[in-house]
């Protein structure tokens, strides 16, 4: 077992409360100062099936999920059989005394006697886990207060009693297991996931409108905006379908409300018509596409990066767009905020492309510094010379001042056809060319402020892992491991995947002996785009499309092939 960090997997059927135990434990670990990275693996059902809540924790930084397990908590027998091969040789299996450990070293917990009623089993499991890890009982107790505070003193007291007994049982029976090293004392951190961070980023950008149709794994973005929307003045509408969602979003944007539309690939497929509308109308809107495996309904609760081409090419006709691909929880906040800025500045649809793994990945992160945020662009509120105002006036940089109807006396005519400077339908050849050129000029502006890819790892690497979006974490860990073994591996992580600014990265790619593109799809979509845009062809690709997230061990294993 690694001394510095552990991988705890809590497995069971949906509805057994494994998320409750996992979340309480994770939050306790974050509060105690440990690094925590959580990934969730679940099936498309409310009860039953097999789900896991996976917690990596320790004192060294963690960037991505792991495969081998150090502590397996089995809430049912199926968990033992499904995961026993992944349990490391020093690993511990924690399970009820009534279950079969199937030959593994195990800690059989008498849940029936520790928890007088089944509802207390979560707290009993939490108590045992805290003692096994060496997390103080005080930390565990505060979690009980947080979770049951609203239910009154009697409920808190009952749960604390179960916690005490389970913790004591753990101390008496699991003394031989190695505890976590002491955590460093540090300022309080938030325990949040990708979608929560993304919603906070939208709030920090001033989002005021969100329309959505529920779809995993994007729904919780809207849910977060609903939760915080009352305090922050955001209107969220659940609509009849995704077609309505984006068309409504464009109406709200036209009327001056910064707008976020969250969805997943299947929902986005329905929105592509309105993406094109945003393009010709030059209407700012931020669309989040949280990817999951397709085609069609695919693996609805799992992860993939195969909607890159869909987002890159969505919509008929030609118009500019920008696509951000957050690699970390922090990126979800900062890049979503930037997406609003770019969308407004260039009056174009801007996309935030995430995936299930990042959406559900929980981590302990420093609270975002709200005072240090740069301003977000907004519309032209001047209303000067209203009679002469033209929505689509031709300019040298392609940017026409966007005014808001009703904010003054300017008349704002937004149109889906090719149009004149004042927004009226036209078939004129010269105007068509001028307007199309004007719109595409904005892409040059966007290209001038592309977020450069991030580099990690060894200087002058022999091998460069090229990745985008959520894959960064696993790639960084793989590079760290290999560099620890004396290799020279670097990582180049793209957090903006369109437009590309080749001068930012091409010189590096051309000097590295072996460039390996790592992405979560079958056809190496980003590698193909790279070749199309720069002529550079990665020396090989490492691809994953089994619905499971990249891990360092997966990448290292494939590199060795």
């Amino acid at each position: 077992m690694s001394v510095q960090n552990r991988h705890i997997v809590i497995g069971g059927a949906a509805g057994q409360g494994l998320v409750t135990v996992g979340q309480m434990l994770s939050k306790g670990l974050v509060r105690a100062g440990y690094e925590v990275l959580v990934t969730q693996d679940y099936m498309s059902r409310v009860r039953g099936g097999h789900n896991t809540y996976n917690i990596r924790t320790g004192v060294t930084p963690l960037t991505g999920p792991a495969e081998s397990i150090d502590i397996l908590v089995a809430l049912n027998q199926e968990t033992v059989s499904l995961h026993k091969r992944a349990l490391g040789s020093d690993g511990i299996l924690i399970l009820d005394e009534g279950f079969d450990a199937e030959g593994l070293a195990a800690l059989h917990v008498p849940f029936a006697s520790l928890a007088p009623k089944a509802v207390f089993q979560n707290i009993a499991a939490l108590g045992v886990l805290c003692s096994v890890l060496g997390l103080s009982k005080d930390h565990a107790a505060t979690l009980v207060h947080d979770s049951f505070g609203k239910k009154g003193q009697a409920v808190i007291a009952q749960n604390l009693q179960v916690l005490d007994e389970a913790y004591a049982w753990g101390e008496a029976n699991a003394a031989s297991f190695e505890k976590l090293p002491s955590a460093v004392s540090r300022a309080p951190r938030m325990f949040i996931n990708g979608n929560e961070s993304l919603a906070l980023g939208a709030l920090a950008a001033g989002v005021k409108f969100c329309s959505f149709y529920p779809m995993t794994p994007a729904t919780s973005i809207a849910q977060n905006l609903i939760t915080h929307g009352r305090k922050m003045g955001v209107y969220v509408e659940q609509v009849e379908d995704e077609i309505a969602a984006l068309n409504m979003g464009l109406g709200a944007s036209y009327a001056g409300a910064p707008t976020l539309i969250p969805t997943s690939g299947g929902g986005f497929a329905l929105m592509t018509e309105a993406v094109s509308l945003a393009g010709v109308m030059e209407q700012p809107v931020v669309v989040v596409v949280a990817q999951r495996p397709g085609p069609a309904t695919g693996l609805p609760t799992r992860t993939e990066q195969a909607d890159f081409n869909l987002v890159l090419y969505a919509g008929h006709g030609e118009f500019p767009r920008a696509i951000f691909a957050p690699g970390t929880i922090e990126d979800c906040f900062f890049l979503t905020r930037k997406a609003f800025d770019i969308s407004e500045k260039y009056q174009s649809p801007v996309f935030v492309l995430t995936d299930q793994e990042l959406a559900d990945r929980h981590m302990g992160v420093e609270p975002f510094d709200l005072d240090a945020l740069p301003p977000v662009a907004g519309p032209d509120l001047s209303d000067t010379d209203a009679q002469a105002y033209k929505r689509y006036v031709l300019t040298k940089d392609g940017l026409s001042p966007r005014r808001i109807p009703g904010y003054g006396e300017s008349i704002v005519l937004a149109d889906c056809h090719e149009h004149t400077e004042d927004g009226h339908i036209t078939e004129d050849i010269d105007m068509r060319i001028a307007m199309n050129d004007k719109r595409m000029l904005k892409e040059e502006g966007m290209r001038s402020e592309v977020v450069p890819p991030r580099f990690f790892g060894a200087d002058r690497p022999d091998t460069l892992l090229l990745c985008w979006g959520s894959t960064e974490g696993a790639a960084r860990e793989a590079a760290n491991v290999l560099n620890g073994q004396g290799q020279r591996v670097g990582v180049l992580s793209f957090t903006q995947v369109w437009p590309l600014a080749p001068e930012q990265f091409l010189p590096l790619l051309e000097t590295v002996p072996k460039v390996v593109c790592v992405e979560g799809n079958k056809t190496a979509q980003f590698a193909r785009l790279l070749r199309q845009e720069t002529g550079f062809r990665p020396h090989r690709n490492i691809l994953r499309y089994d619905g499971r997230p990249f891990t360092a061990s997966y990448i290292i294993g494939k590199l060795a092939d």
Partner: protein, 284 residues
């Protein structure tokens, strides 16, 4: 009353004699009568001949996609309830491609007005059957006659207890303008289905055909009586009632019920970073 000339005078691409000209004229009269200046109104449309209306009148305009005028229209109102929002398009746009949005808009009950130019045919694409084309009607695309049952927008809206449901005929401009004004004044989702002949592609439902059949509802019809409204909604053929068919006096508009919408235009509301900092604390 405003001077009607403030809404401009544009060349249109509509056929001479098309009912759309009268609808446009009635809209200008209705707006002028309500003292609504061009910058106070947002005119939202989809695709079709009727949907070109925003290009033929000086108002704020959002000419969007086919069948999609209702979602942006509702969002405009929610984002800025001080605006008067009018969605205007045809029968194909609203009842065909946009059918689901039509049903959802009735349920959502945002304070907007929907004007449907109902000519019972697709005019822009030159004469295919629309959802309101009568069964048996022969067109170039339906040479054996339309086999689908005709969609009755009035009956559907009344059945769903929509806010305000009226029918008008473009051949009677002053009555049509009155219906538009009543719809705009109604504090919720209001629709006016406007029988407006397509002189080029509908040789059945002509000016004369409608003129012969349309009759104005008198004071003996109580639009607050749902059973009476349903009976009038189902009257179409030899006799076609025009006027306010149904008026729901019990529902409150969505934009009137939502606190954040009542606090002024969403885009003008401040972003309170201190509140956001507090929200971040809740994750610690």
């Amino acid at each position: 009353m405003l001077d009607i000339s403030i809404y401009g005078d544009y060349h249109t691409s509509w056929c001479p004699g098309c009912g759309n000209h009268d609808v446009l004229k009635a809209l200008k009269e209705a707006l002028a009568g309500l003292d609504l200046a061009p910058h106070q109104v947002v005119h939202v449309s989809g695709i079709g001949q009727a949907a070109k209306a925003p290009h033929y009148i000086t108002l704020n305009g959002f000419n969007g996609l086919h069948g999609r005028c209702l979602p942006p229209a509702q969002a405009v109102k929610l984002a800025n309830p001080s605006l008067t929002v009018i969605a205007e398009s045809g029968d194909g746009c609203n009842y065909g491609e946009g059918g689901n949005h039509f049903l959802a808009a009735i349920r959502r009950n945002v304070n907007i007005t929907l004007l449907v130019h109902d000519n019972q045919i697709y005019g822009l694409t030159k004469g295919q059957a629309s959802p309101t084309t009568s069964e048996g009607h022969v067109t170039k695309s339906q040479p054996d006659g339309v086999t689908n049952a005709s969609f009755n927008p009035i009956a559907v809206a009344v059945a769903m207890r929509a806010g305000f449901v009226a029918r008008a005929f473009s051949g009677n401009i002053s009555h049509l303008a009155t219906m538009m004004q009543e719809a705009i004044r109604y504090p919720g989702f209001a629709m006016v289905d406007i029988l407006s002949p397509c002189i080029s592609f509908n040789k059945v439902n002509t000016f004369g055909w409608y003129k012969q059949r349309c009759y104005e509802l008198g004071p003996d019809h109580d639009p607050g009586n749902w059973d009476a409204a349903m009976a009038k909604a189902n009257e179409f053929g030899e006799h076609i009632p025009v006027g306010i068919i149904w008026r729901n006096n019990e529902r409150m508009a969505l934009d009137e019920r939502v606190a954040v919408c009542k606090q002024g235009p969403l885009g003008r509301q401040s972003v309170d970073m201190a509140v956001l900092a507090g929200i971040m604390q809740s994750y610690i």
